[in-house]
Amino acid sequence: MSPHIVPRRVYYRIFATLLALTLVTVGVAFLDLGPLNTIIALTIATGKALLVILFFMHLRYSSVLTWIFAGAGVLWLIHLLLFTSLDYVSRPWFPVTGW
């Protein structure tokens, strides 16, 4: 069992980047940018999540099969969010009497 051993300095750099992104996202929260606030906050969160998954969870150094597993998680999460939201968004388009 000898997977890729990540040098410790990589972990320190990821940690510093995650902290910096946290400061940025907290800072941006105090500015009124309208809908951009949500978009920026979620983009930063996704970026942080990617760093954690790729480096702390070693996905970057893992097998193709592991990538497929992780990708399946993201895919089904998108299905869950997208199709449920589509349902709610599209209901007013085709009103059903009595609902």
Partner: protein, 220 residues
């Protein structure tokens, strides 16, 4: 004087259904990822519910989020990121067969986890003082009151489920620390440390999304 227990696992034992240590390691890791997929769907359902009700009662959810302490939430985010670093360093210690490093960083990870839970408890305490705990102690004036209560329902459900995962994680790490202390792990066998790390980082991931969704996006 530490008693070292050299198990056959620590010597790189391969269970009979596997061809080699690499295949065994791959199977263990994939098994954990499969479990984490079920966790993604579990938390995904709550996140979807939150997204839909936030869109439906936007003003109330924004009003509710103003009752959260952005600084305590921010500090907790930093604490949890720090615990992910120490967890990664514990796994690194295992990979190079440094027993003392595993124990040290696992203890640090648990300590940071407890700090997170402590700060969370302080925040929950503030909610009881403000009487904005849905179902138990909710006294709120204004036209948005019912939907602010809904926001806090989500707040307590989401952070509560997350905290429950932290408690389970700390329990797992406590067992690992004991096993590492006893010399159960080596560079040839450390799969439990690796997959508990995956779990710990996953719990960190959930918080990475909870923090902006609950505390930040309604703030300005």
């Amino acid at each position: 004087m530490v008693h070292e227990e050299r198990s056959e696992l620590a010597e790189g034992y391969v269970a009979h259904q596997f061809d080699d240590p690499e295949q065994q390691y791959e199977a263990v890791t994939l098994g954990m990822w499969a479990f984490l997929l079920t966790e993604i769907m579990f938390f995904g359902g709550v996140f979807t519910g939150y997204a839909i009700y936030r869109a439906a009662y936007l003003e109330a959810f924004i009003e509710g989020s103003h009752h959260l302490d952005i600084w305590l939430g921010g500090i907790n985010t930093a604490v949890l990121i720090g615990s992910s670093l120490t967890m990664a360093l514990a796994v690194h210690g295992a990979q190079i067969g440094e027993r003392r490093a595993i124990v040290r960083f696992l203890l640090l990870t648990m300590l940071l986890g407890l700090v997170f839970l402590g700060i969370k408890a302080v925040e929950y305490g503030h909610k009881f003082d403000e009487r904005i705990v849905p179902g138990m102690n909710f006294v709120y004036e204004g036209p948005q009151a019912p939907h602010v209560q809904l926001f806090f329902g989500f707040y307590f459900a989401m952070t509560g489920l997350h905290a429950l995962h932290m408690v389970i994680g700390i329990g797992l790490l406590a067992v690992l620390t004991w096993q590492a202390w006893r010399g159960r792990f080596s560079a040839a066998y450390y799969a439990p440390v690796e997959i508990s790390g995956l779990y710990w980082h996953f719990v960190d991931l959930v918080w990475i999304f909870l923090f902006p969704l609950l505390y930040l996006i309604g703030r300005h």
